[in-house]
Chain length 295, copies 2
């Protein structure tokens, strides 16, 4: 069994120019849950001034489908307070492997971001001891400002997050440039971290995401983030592709004999209303093949 | 060094509803050559009644860029006569691993197609002894009519082609369904064929082509077909994606340290006029990332 964490409702929508209504966000989440995506990153408790697309995540949290494992992205202690007040039992905190990226993104050093992280994690644990925490390491492969990232630097941050008590670390190819050899090198550097404590988050900006997932599968990793419809354009390359498409991930997994519990027909249709609102075509090859096969 | 055989001007255009003019076809070939694609399947000597998009391939052959290694697809003895009369020094003959596919495609059994193949190959050898022949095994993984193909069946056809004296065999995932494990199984079944005598032809209909190429690279294979811009929609799934995009292949290769001699900037622009004529958006993730990076 492979675990898919659907991030379309958060990572997929947060960079869009169009702000999607709360009801459309919830409709998307329900359609994805209906297709079998039982774990979803449903929103972010960032400042609505900074990321207007994620305003009202409190209300989304209150309206989630029964039985869904919902993850909320939390940037800081204030965000954690909001997440907890909304009843969130699973939170994702983030930092990055590149100093320049953290500076540009949240105006802190990595060390400062880890202090914030520790405080937010402590608050979370004190209030939801049975809850789960993810720690996301952005730019684990490459940074848009300084280029390739040393795998040891990414793994050092992963270790700090694990010491702060996160249940799993997410290694993210934020700008979607990595190839399979880089996945192998990072996995080798992280070989002392138990495999069930690592998840992988690939962007498919340059068509390598499925090959990277396959490399992870061969190494024994079983947790992947993805976004239905390939939502989530990269802010550093407007017009370019976004996250690894969940449809493409599911196809690979099922073809390779891993069960996902996802219905590809339902999944292929789940993002159509949002894509329509955004004025976008499906990014996912599998989604398009499935939709074409039905026509 | 990895060898890329650009098939966009043939496999990429042959199924299009719009017929592209001879000058637009030649412009595409020249732009691709300019980008560094020194080997191209430039057309097909099929009946212009059956495939009007490939009418006039004789004239294309006469106008090819100096220095290009041009491959012509040849379906039968009559096509070989035309190819030879046009001065072709490299010809690709095809059959398939699935009886049903050969029947549907050229109304013969595999054995009958091999007899035609032998006659056409003999004619080619007698007239161009120093020329090169490829033998294409379509549906080497799966057939749209009967499903999965036994790797041993595909390899048996490959052996017959090699006995007929082809210089290389192309194993084709015609409908773009295969995953990396199937590549491994087919490669294992073909392990007694020297690696330099096998090329791989993937369609990216379901997003697995790059992962399949990577699997081949790890196994030591170094020859791949691809189509710039991801041209080449599948006739069995209208609207679905086409061939492995050359841009995506080049990105993977260069990122993994293989030199290709291809200029991605020039390549990303090479198909724009044809895409415009066809009223299509670029299929290639890398092409879109490159074009987005320039805007």
């Amino acid at each position: 069994m492979v675990r898919i964490i659907e991030v379309g409702p958060r990572d997929g929508l947060q960079n869009e120019r169009e702000t999607i209504s709360l009801s459309a966000r919830l409709d998307l989440i329900f359609a994805l849950a209906e297709a079998g995506l039982a774990e979803q990153e449903f929103g972010s408790f960032v400042s609505p001034k900074a990321v207007p697309q994620m305003a009202g995540t409190d209300e989304v949290a209150a309206g989630l489908p029964t039985g869904l494992t919902g993850w909320a992205l939390v940037p800081n202690v204030k965000g954690m307070e909001r997440a907890l007040a909304s009843g969130c039992r699973n939170a994702a905190l983030f930092t990055a492997a590149s100093e320049d990226f953290v500076q540009a993104n949240i105006r802190m050093s990595i060390a400062e971001s880890l202090e914030v992280f520790a405080e937010a994690a402590g608050l979370f644990r004190s209030r939801v001891p049975e809850g789960r925490l993810r720690g996301i390491v952005s730019t684990a492969f490459e940074c848009p400002f300084v280029g390739r990232v040393d795998p040891e630097a990414a793994v050092a941050v992963a270790h700090e997050l694990l010491e702060l008590g996160v249940d799993e670390v997410v290694l993210a190819d934020t700008i979607g440039t990595a190839g399979p050899s880089e996945v192998k090198r990072l996995a080798a550097a992280a070989s002392d971290i138990p495999k069930e404590k690592l998840a992988w988050h690939f962007h498919d900006t340059r068509g390598t995401a499925v090959a990277n997932v396959w490399t992870c599968l061969e190494l024994g990793y079983r947790s992947f983030d993805s976004a239905a419809g390939g939502l989530g354009g990269c802010p550093f390359a407007p017009g370019a592709g976004g996250n690894l498409a969940t449809e493409d991930l599911v196809y690979l997994l099922e073809r390779e004999g891993f069960r996902t519990g996802v219905d590809l027909e339902l999944l292929a249709r789940a993002t159509l209303p949002v894509l329509d609102l955004l004025g976008r075509e499906p990014e996912s090859k599998v989604q398009r093949a499935v939709l074409a096969g039905r026509s």
